[in-house]
């Protein structure tokens, strides 16, 4: 073949051709559409069905949304405005119900001149939670965290400042007793003292002390009854207090369920399974109908508080299962390592096991919280005014009788924003943990 020279073949190109653009089906949007949407018959059919579904959904919602009325005093007025535009009663949304009643959706029947109090409580809560979420903040801030429950309680319910203060004093007393007795007698006696001293203090001293101080230095703000709580405020209060209270309880239950001690393990298993086996709504009805049977005769306390207790117990069983998963996921060597260092049970739990197990279970805990937050809507059935209850109450007024979709859309959107962002946070944590453990 080496005899072939330029003059023996008919034509030899001596210049480079300019680069051609790739065919239109292989670039840009067309290629993307071909590969992603119409790669096969099945895919093409699916795409067309999906686009049709999206079109139907948007065709229903978008005009409804764009023809919405934002300023009207009642549903009939809103329909008049729509009719003046030549639209039917259901062709445009009456979001004016939100502008007129948003304060009820958010705060329930909380007195409107006191709205600053729940807002301030929320701000205090965020300050308190910051040192837990961000490890690089000064550890001293944890003291603020510990005082947050009492501050928030006082801000939300009002009344004398001495009640939460004297209650908080019980915890301080317990801490002091544990340190003092624990150092002077024995650690075990310290633990017993830390339980007994505050209990005695709360039962016999706290009430009198609180009343006495109130008489000497009256420091109080307006009391708000808990039946005035409602709307998203109520959901957030129930959800947050339940999750915060249920965390320690759930961790203890998980440890008990993993324990070698037969009686402790069995009682933890029974508690967890009974709580998880029965729907929340049955527990709520139990709180409403039966709790008075189980308490000493004559005792009667607030329905909201009862609900918080019930939801806390409910959530603690779920958290216990999540934490148990974390405990089970740790390699056995970690437990054995703790034992071989000569640490006792609580030390090895505190220093070795729980930090790792809790870290693994944080995404699960966040997911439990999302479920719990959604479940707070169930309190409507025992007569509390959660967002759905408020929506029913708004619908029962003469002005807004017959309004459905706008309220549902608003409630759904609020829950979606809250739960979706928490879900993303939990995903982010999961990914971060996976990267760290690699």
């Amino acid at each position: 073949m080496s005899e072939i020279h330029a003059h023996t073949v008919s034509h030899v190109r001596d210049t480079m051709l300019p680069q051609q653009a790739p065919p239109i089906t292989e670039t840009g949007v067309v290629k993307w559409i071909r590969e992603n949407l119409f790669s096969s018959w099945l895919n093409a059919i699916l795409t067309i069905i999906s686009i049709y579904v999206i079109y139907r959904l948007l065709a229903g919602i978008v005009p409804w949304f764009f023809h919405s009325v934002w300023s009207a005093e009642s549903l009939s007025e809103c329909r008049d405005v729509l009719a003046a535009k030549g639209l039917g009663a259901h062709d445009g949304a009456c979001f004016s119900v939100l502008t007129a009643r948003w304060h009820q959706m958010v705060f329930g029947y909380y007195p409107s001149d006191l709205y600053w109090r729940p807002l301030l409580a929320l701000a205090v809560f965020f300050v308190g939670i910051a040192p837990i979420l961000f490890a690089n903040l000064p550890r001293k801030m944890l003291l603020i965290t510990m005082s947050v429950p009492f501050i928030c309680f006082w801000l939300l319910w009002g009344g004398s400042i001495w009640f939460p203060l004297t209650t908080a004093l019980g915890f301080v007393l317990g801490y002091v007793a544990m340190n003092f007795v624990g150092k002077s007698i024995s650690p075990l006696a310290g633990v017993i003292a830390a339980i007994v001293v505050p209990l005695l203090y709360w039962i016999f001293v706290a009430g009198a002390l609180s009343n006495g101080l109130q008489d000497v230095i009256p420091l109080d703000i307006e009391t708000v009854q808990s039946r005035k709580f409602g709307g998203f405020m109520l959901s957030v209060i129930i959800g947050l207090s339940a999750i915060i209270l249920s965390l320690p309880l759930g961790i203890l239950l998980a440890l008990a369920r993993q324990s070698d001690l037969f009686i402790i393990k069995t009682s933890a298993v029974i508690f967890i399974e009974v709580i998880r086996g029965v729907p929340l709504i049955v527990w709520l009805f139990t709180a409403q109908l039966l709790l008075n049977y189980f308490l000493p005769p004559g005792s009667n306390f607030d329905l909201t508080l009862r609900v918080i207790i019930m939801v806390t117990l409910f959530a603690s069983a779920y958290i216990a299962e999540v934490v148990r998963g974390g405990l089970a996921a740790l390699p056995k060597g970690q437990y054995e390592g703790g034992d071989s260092l000569g640490l006792d049970y609580w030390q090895s739990m505190q220093l070795i096991i729980l930090p790792q197990a809790l870290k693994i279970s944080i995404p699960g805990i966040v997911n439990t919280f999302i479920g719990l937050f959604k479940d707070t809507t169930l309190v409507v059935f025992i007569g509390l005014f959660d967002p759905l209850g408020i929506a029913g109450a708004i619908r029962a007024t003469t002005e807004w009788n017959g309004i459905y979709w706008e309220l549902f859309a608003f409630i759904g959107l609020m829950f979606f924003i809250a739960c979706f962002s928490m879900g993303r946070y939990s995903l982010y944590l999961e990914n971060k943990l996976q990267r760290e453990n690699r």
């Binding site: 992603n36 999906s50 001690l261 037969f262 009682s267 729907p279 308490l295 959604k374």
Partner: protein, 425 residues
């Protein structure tokens, strides 16, 4: 020679109960037991004194008293002269019905959506993601109420179906009517019904037809026998294949075994389809699914389906690519690869959370209260309690029912888990 003797045992001191790890666990357990018993005694004591103060006793006798209220949906015979116990049973059947229907629908939705969410088709996978996130992040209660509102507010009234030019019309060949009072479906009737007590229709000049329990029992029995026979044929084919290497063709045999007996039975019963039709102000005949059932069923299945979709997706993703590549390298067909390699491994990941979703769905069916569906919470835990004033007994029975149900389901799941557990050494 030294004699072997045990070292002298130190005398037991009381302090060992606290400081010696051998005895400490006993101490702790005894203390815990005493505390638990004390707490239970306190609760029981309070309950007894509270009941005494109210002049009530603890007695389940109310279950045999006449209930005196009607239930609008019943799978077993019931009228308001029957007992509270019977009413509770009707409620239990209704709970199980909606849970069963919900589990099936949620699984179908979940598998479809989970697979489609992994599709390379951008529009489809986005649409499925929107569905999953939308339903997962909004309370179930809101969905139930919303679907109920759509059914009862936006659907046509039965009277819209009448007239020469009706505002609404039945769909699928005049068989289904979707109204604001519920959905009306066609049902099967038998001209030669075995029980024949319950006359259903004399529609369009047809002979009267009936449909009773005996007919359905016969049909179910026939189907059951056919299925057992089909398994027998398949097992024989397996044996033949193992001994000779050639698998006999079983398709036609199986089809014949399935369709011929049931066809004969249906022919002799004289099966006809009874369509719902408008009579007066409402539809009659056919099967009536109430709005409450539809709303609860749809909302439960759509909500749980979103969770199941995520489970299915993660199950498929959990089987590594190498598994299917290895199967192809061994020369397996794609269908066999799916059946023998991928699915068994994915199922191990999918089934346990799937069953706990079924459990959640069953428990969530108690939200029937939002739409007035008469489930066990509404009968036993609702009307019966308020009529007899037996809160304690009623709630105990109600809780016991849900607890038993979830224990049964979760013990089934534990059995599955131990059976499919990977052997680890």
């Amino acid at each position: 020679m030294s004699t072997l003797t045990d070292p002298p045992k130190p005398a037991f001191r009381l302090s060992q109960l606290i400081y010696d790890t051998r005895y400490r666990s006993i101490t702790i357990q005894v203390v815990a037991l005493i505390l638990i018993i004390a707490a239970l005694y306190w609760l029981a004591n309070n309950t007894v004194s509270n009941l005494a103060a109210l002049g009530k006793d603890f007695d389940f006798g109310f279950l045999s008293q006449p209930a005196g209220y009607d239930i609008n949906q019943m799978l077993i015979e019931y009228d308001n002269q029957m007992s509270h116990g019977r009413a509770a049973l009707v409620g239990i059947m209704n709970t199980l019905l909606v849970a069963f229907l919900g589990c099936i629908a949620a699984t179908i939705i979940g598998v479809f959506v989970g697979v489609l969410r992994l599709s390379k088709n951008w529009v489809v996978s986005r649409l499925m993601a929107v569905y999953v996130e939308g339903f997962r992040n909004v309370p179930l209660l809101l969905w139930i109420i919303l679907i109920f509102a759509i059914m009862s507010e936006a659907m046509p009234q039965p009277r819209d179906f009448r007239g020469a030019e009706p505002a609404a019309s039945m769909i699928l060949g005049d068989s289904f009517a979707i109204t604001n009072r519920g959905v009306y479906l066609p049902r099967l009737g038998f001209t030669n019904s075995l029980s024949g007590d319950e006359v259903v229709a004399s529609q369009d000049g047809l002979t009267p037809v009936a449909s009773g329990g005996l007919d359905w029992l016969l049909i179910l029995a026939t189907l059951g026998i056919s299925i057992i026979a089909m398994r027998f044929v398949t097992n024989r084919a397996n044996l033949v294949q193992q001994s000779t290497g050639v698998r006999p063709n079983t398709l036609w045999k199986n089809l014949a075994i399935f369709f011929v007996p049931i066809g004969i039975v249906l022919f002799f019963l004289g099966v006809v389809i009874v369509r719902p039709f408008l009579q007066g102000f409402n539809f009659t005949e056919g099967t009536h699914l109430r709005n409450s059932l539809i709303a609860l069923w749809l909302a439960l299945s759509l909500y749980t389906g979103a969770f199941i979709a995520e489970i299915v997706r993660s199950g498929i993703l959990a089987v590594s690519n190498g598994q299917s590549e290895a199967a192809f390298a061994l020369g397996m067909q794609p269908s066999k690869t799916m059946k023998l390699v991928i699915l068994p491994q994915a199922m191990r990941v999918i089934i346990p959370p799937l069953i706990s979703q079924f459990l959640n769905l069953t428990k969530n069916s108690s939200l029937a209260i939002a739409v007035g569906y008469m489930d066990v919470r509404a009968t036993l835990g609702g009307i019966s309690i308020s009529q007899t004033g037996r809160e304690l007994e009623g709630m105990l029975l109600l809780g016991g029912f849900y607890l038993a149900l979830s224990l049964i389901i979760s013990s089934g799941m534990n059995y599955y888990n131990t059976r499919t557990k990977l052997e680890e050494r």
